[in-house]
C-alpha cells in the first residue's frame, strides 16, 4: 500500500460518481471539519449543522472538483471558511458578539514560570480568541482541523511560507497571552 494516497483514490472515485468513495471521504474528514467549526463557533449544535452543510455542498460539487487528495482537504475547508465568513457577516448585522467568550483563565499564583500551568482548554480557547483573524484561522485549521501546511495553503490561498510564518507568530502570541494570564 506504500505510496498510495487513500484520499486521492477516494476523491478520484467520488468524482466519477462512486457514492461509497464519497462516504469514505466523509468518514475521514467529518470529525476534523467538526472540530474546526467548534473551534470557531463554539456551539456544538451549530458546528454539527455547519459540518453537515459543507458535506452536502461537497457532495453536490465534487464531480466538478479537479484536484488530488491534499487539494481536496483544502477545498473542503475553504468551503467551511466561506460558511464561517457568512455567519460572521450575519452576526455583525445583528450586532451580536462574534463569538461567545470562554471563561478567563484562573490566575495561579504558585507557578510563576509556567505556560504549562495555564494550558487547560478554557485558557487555550480564551487565548485563541485574542489572536488576529488570520492567526486564528491558521491555528484552528492546523490544530482543530488537522491540516498540513500545504492543505492550509490550499484552503486559505496563502503561500506555505506565509502559513508557517503566521503559525509561528500565532504560537508565540498564544504563549505570551498564556504567560500574561488575563
Amino acid at each position: 500500500m506504500a505510496g498510495v494516497d487513500p484520499v486521492g483514490e477516494l476523491v478520484l472515485r467520488a468524482r466519477e460518481g462512486d457514492a461509497e468513495a464519497f462516504a469514505g471521504l466523509y468518514d475521514l474528514f467529518h470529525a476534523r471539519l467538526y472540530r474546526y467549526f467548534v473551534a470557531n463557533v463554539r456551539d456544538r449544535t451549530e458546528a454539527e449543522d455547519l459540518t453537515a452543510d459543507v458535506f452536502v455542498e461537497a457532495a453536490q460539487r465534487i464531480r466538478a472538483f479537479e484536484g488530488n487528495g491534499p487539494a481536496f482537504a483544502g477545498w473542503l475547508f475553504a468551503m467551511a471558511r466561506n460558511d464561517l465568513a457568512d455567519i460572521r457577516r450575519r452576526l455583525r448585522r445583528r450586532v451580536v458578539e462574534p463569538m461567545a467568550e470562554p471563561p478567563e483563565p484562573q490566575m495561579q499564583e504558585d507557578h510563576a514560570d509556567s505556560v504549562a500551568s495555564r494550558l487547560d482548554a478554557g485558557s487555550i480557547l480564551w487565548a485563541v480568541n485574542r489572536l488576529t483573524d488570520d492567526q486564528r484561522q491558521i491555528v484552528t485549521l492546523k490544530f482543530a482541523g488537522g491540516l498540513t501546511n500545504e492543505e492550509i495553503s490550499e484552503a486559505t490561498g496563502k503561500p506555505v511560507t506565509a502559513v508557517k510564518s503566521l503559525q509561528h507568530r500565532a504560537l508565540a502570541t498564544l504563549k505570551r497571552l498564556l504567560e500574561a494570564g488575563s
Binding site: 463557533v41 449544535t45 459540518t51 508557517k164
Partner: protein, 325 residues
C-alpha cells in the same frame, strides 16, 4: 483519546536552533500540543450518521438539481436522528481501527479482495443495532450500498458482480421489511421510519428500472427478482400523526393543484409515497406528507406567505445556545 502528533515543521524548527532558543521552542511545542488537545472534541455519533446519510442523499441527486432541491432530498433523511448511539460508536471504533482497509473497501464489488471487509463492516453495524428501528435503518443503508454496487458493476461490465449485488439487495430489502413489521416501534418513530423507508425504496426502484434496458442478459433474472421483491414488499403504512405533531397537512385539501379526476376516495392501490428524488417538484400524490422543509431553506422558498408552523424556530442557529466547549 487519540492524540495527533505535533507538526513536523515545528519540530524541524526546533532542530539546529541556538541553545537559547531551545527553551522557547519547547514552550511553543507545549502550546501546540495543548492546542491539539483543547480541540479534541468528538461529534455526537448520531449526528455523524444522520449527516452522513444526508450527504450521501445529496451525492446521489443528479448534478443538474439546484442546491435547494438536493437539501430537500437530504432532509428526507431527518428521520434518522434517533439512530442509537451504541451502534454508531461501535462502528466508529471499527472504522478507527480498520480505517485504511475500510477506505479501500468502499468501492469494492463482489469478487474483489476487499469486498469481504465491506460486508464485515456491515455485519458489525447490524450486530451493534439495538432494536428493530436501528436494524431497519442499517439494512436500508446496506440496500443503498448494494444499489451503488449494481450501478458500478453495470458500468464496468461485471455481470457476475451485478448478479451478486442484486441478490444481496433483495435480501437487504426483505430484511428491512421484516424489521419494520416486527412491531416494536413506537408510533412516532414508526411514522418517520416508514415514510423514510418508503421514499428510499421508491427511489431505489426508479434506479433499478432505469438500469433494466442496459442490464446484461446474465443479470436480468436477478434484476427482475429484485424488482419483483420490491413490488411485493409489504411495508406497513405509517400511523397517523400523533397529537404532538404539527400535522403539516397530508392532502386534507389539495389546494394548488386540484386533481383533474374527481375521485377523492382512496383507491385500492397501496399508494407508496412519491419518490422525493424526482427532478421536477411534482405535487405528491401519496398519502405520505412531503418532506418537511429545513429551517434554513425557508428563505429560498419563493416567499409565499403560507402559514408555516416552524417559522419561529430559526433561533436554533444562534451561536449562544448551550453546548459550548
Amino acid at each position: 483519546m487519540r492524540r495527533r502528533r505535533i507538526d513536523p515543521d515545528v519540530l524541524d524548527r526546533a532542530i539546529g536552533q541556538p541553545p537559547g532558543a531551545q527553551e522557547e521552542l519547547e514552550e511553543l511545542l507545549r502550546v501546540s500540543q495543548a492546542l491539539t488537545d483543547a480541540f479534541q472534541v468528538e461529534p455526537r455519533p448520531q449526528a455523524v450518521t444522520e449527516h452522513r446519510l444526508a450527504a450521501l442523499a445529496a451525492f446521489r441527486v443528479p448534478a443538474s438539481l439546484p442546491g435547494r432541491a438536493a437539501r430537500e432530498l437530504a432532509s428526507s433523511w431527518e428521520w434518522l436522528p434517533q439512530l442509537r448511539v451504541r451502534a454508531l460508536a461501535t462502528a466508529a471504533i471499527v472504522i478507527g481501527i480498520f480505517g485504511s482497509l475500510l477506505a479501500g473497501s468502499y468501492g469494492s464489488l463482489p469478487g474483489d479482495t476487499l469486498y469481504g471487509v465491506k460486508l464485515g463492516a456491515e455485519e458489525v453495524r447490524l450486530a451493534a443495532a439495538v432494536d428493530s428501528f436501528d436494524k431497519a435503518v442499517v439494512h436500508l443503508d446496506i440496500a443503498g450500498a448494494r444499489i451503488d454496487e449494481v450501478v458500478k458493476a453495470q458500468e464496468t461490465g461485471r455481470a457476475d458482480a451485478m448478479r451478486e449485488s442484486l441478490r444481496r439487495y433483495s435480501d437487504a430489502i426483505i430484511a428491512v421489511e421484516t424489521e419494520l413489521r416486527s412491531g416494536d416501534l413506537t408510533d412516532s418513530q414508526a411514522r418517520e421510519v416508514l415514510i423514510g423507508a418508503a421514499n428510499t425504496l421508491e427511489e431505489q426502484k426508479v434506479v433499478l428500472e432505469g438500469l433494466a434496458p442496459a442490464t446484461p442478459a446474465p443479470a436480468q433474472p436477478e434484476l427482475e427478482d429484485a424488482l419483483k421483491t420490491l413490488k411485493e414488499l409489504e411495508i406497513p403504512p405509517p400511523p397517523p400523526p400523533g397529537d404532538d405533531e404539527p400535522t403539516p397537512g397530508p392532502s386534507t385539501t389539495p389546494t394548488e393543484t386540484p386533481s383533474p379526476t374527481p375521485s377523492e376516495s382512496p383507491t385500492e392501490e397501496p399508494s407508496p409515497p412519491a419518490p422525493s428524488g424526482s427532478p421536477s417538484p411534482q405535487p405528491s400524490e401519496s398519502a405520505a406528507p412531503p418532506a418537511e422543509p429545513k429551517e434554513g431553506d425557508a428563505s429560498g422558498a419563493g416567499g409565499a406567505p403560507a402559514p408555516n408552523p416552524e417559522q419561529g424556530s430559526e433561533a436554533g442557529s444562534q451561536p449562544d445556545a448551550a453546548g459550548s466547549v
